[in-house]
Symmetry: C2
Subunit: 333 residues, 2 copies
DNA sequence: ACACCTGACTGTATCGATAAAGGAGTCGGA
DNA sequence: TCCGACTCCTTTATCGATACAGTCAGGTGT
């Protein structure tokens, strides 16, 4: 490996001068700079990022940890975070916490973190049990659906209110037998339990009866899960004319499952999702959804960690809830 | 920041002993190990990854650079790469090369690379002009649609053959007036020009006339682009009964655009995509597509870089082309 | 003539971890 | 009794870049 020393020797200067050239330090004679640059080029020198990071104590990188990289939701969120962070001169790398959440999450939080100046953690299913894990001396913000009384900043989605509004929307459009497709684990506080709460409240406040037979739990919030939930629902013979889906991804699966069973959307059944992923704008029919304002979430997340990186020690950890709006499209027409 | 020295002092041992404890070196007395672990816990020590990387000369991390993180295709590919790499004990981080490809790509390849032990570069639109850029002394594999006579390993998709097969599939199903929706830049060698070639060849070999009016270019290979292409196509008044789409994402947009214009798929027009993204299995109608065997691609990519990491200097850069199969679904029924 | 500044460099210590080598102590066998 | 092997731990050097202090020549102002 060719190092700065090699370049320095080749150019007949000290390593410090090479460093100065690389970092655009102004007081370097043009002729010297040229010699150094030529040497760099000749030898094919590249700065060693590990060494620079060690010395500088920073990496200029923000980590974004997500449970699954192949869910459109995270990709679209990542895209916004990258845009915001790169405007501030930071690079973002995405890392997957994955199926083996426990191990992975703790690995990222407790050891890899020093690869990043800050960590944005999208933590589906993070419980209060993880609180201690997050008690780290490190700029971090939790992004996600879980209500979390932890020692770090947390940006929540409007789970209860959003699902409340979504359910009300279905009722306003005329649905009365409203199903919900959600995670099969309703231990609070998690996404499903919160959204389930919003659904229940909307039913109650509208005087619509809650039928447990219309509540379908699935192990994973995927399209595949949504499809089989829809099939089970139809096959059960229970009458329903609306479905609240825990995420857009699930909703797309549900619409597919309904179509397979010959149920028409929105004619027979209205469907609404949550997240406003781009795919919902192009599905057939277009998917109505709850749009939690991802731009706001991304901007806030980045701004919060930047503030901590900048060393604002005054700042007290807070919980934020993004604003939202119901987007009515064809699936609830 | 609390360092190993601090831990060592607190535990009354040398830093090397702390290191040994952390790295599970066997010859440490239990009592000493406990003292060290207690000190680590008390002080909240975390190993500094930058220092370890510098010392070790490796990061145990593979970089995966993609043009856009919010395209399902890349997310799904990333997921497979992560699975394969983590089985080999490597971590993967995803990085976006982004809109400003020139700058970003060169930044990643030429300087950030030392953050990774290897780089898998998904390089849409990498031209022969970038050849010099890639002449780096660094384990790297190019993944993507471009034919590339470069100094590194390259895994190509079966662009020509796949699109050839897709077009033949439409013809076999009865289509004769077959449109193509592709990038507006057909400068070879890029995805669009190659796939365009496959399309043309299939038409020619089947004795079907090529009508330039049925060739629609879009600036970005997105759903939005696909939709407007479909609208333009219908509005132009040209008769067509089949559409070959350059990617599944574009195809989903095309199906949406056709639906908006009252054109039925597959009854009036058959549609086929390329990539086999998961969304196509759940769209209404389900999307026929060319499946390039992403598992094969991901596995090969990881294996190739691992071989280079392991120091196989014998290996000569090669170009691989993934196998594929046409997946017939409802959109071409 | 002197202090004082600025530009253009260089030398050295340092960031935090770890590999390599080696010292002290213990134990078993010849 | 002595030797080698083994365990447990320490010392030292090093990875590659950079902050900081400092050198030295040449100019400026008074």
């Amino acid at each position: 490996m060719v190092t700065m020393q090699d370049v320095a020797k080749a150019a007949g200067v000290s390593t410090m001068t090479v460093s100065n050239v690389l970092n655009h330090y102004p007081h370097v004679r043009d002729e010297t700079r040229d010699r150094v640059l030529r040497a760099i080029d000749d030898l094919g020198y590249r700065v060693n990022v590990a060494a620079r990071n060690l010395r500088a104590g920073r990496t200029n990188t923000i980590g974004f940890a997500v449970p699954e990289v192949d869910r459109p939701y995270f990709g679209q969120l990542a895209s916004r975070i990258i845009a915001r962070a790169s405007a501030a001169g930071y690079r973002v790398v995405i890392e997957q916490t994955g199926a083996d959440r426990e191990t992975e999450l703790s690995a990222i939080v407790s050891s890899r973190n020093r690869m990043y100046d800050a960590l944005i953690l999208s933590a589906v299913g993070l419980g209060t049990a993880d609180r201690e894990l997050l008690r780290v001396d490190f700029p971090m913000v939790i992004l996600g659906e879980t209500v979390f009384e932890g020692p770090v900043d947390h940006i929540a989605l409007p789970n209860v209110e959003g699902t409340f509004a979504a359910t009300r929307h279905l009722i306003a459009r005329g649905s009365r037998r409203i199903a919900i497709v959600e995670g099969d684990d309703l231990l609070p506080p998690n996404v499903s339990s919160l959204r389930h709460g919003g659904y229940l409240r909307a039913l109650r406040e509208s005087g619509v009866e809650f039928d447990p037979a219309l509540s379908v739990g699935i192990p994973e919030l995927t399209m595949s899960g949504g499809r089989s939930a829809a099939e089970r629902l139809v096959d059960s013979g229970a009458a329903f004319d609306g479905v609240v889906c825990i995420t857009d991804t699930v909703a797309l699966g549900v619409m597919r499952g309904l179509a397979d069973r010959g149920v028409r959307v929105p004619d027979d059944v209205r469907v609404i999702g949550f997240d406003a992923i781009e795919e919902g704008e192009y599905s057939i029919p277009r998917l109505s959804t709850v749009d939690p304002d991802h731009d706001e979430v991304a901007a806030l997340a980045v701004d919060l960690v930047l503030r901590r990186i900048a060393g604002d020690t005054e700042w007290q950890p807070r919980e934020f809830v993004s604003s939202f709006r119901v987007v009515a499209r064809e699936s609830t027409a």
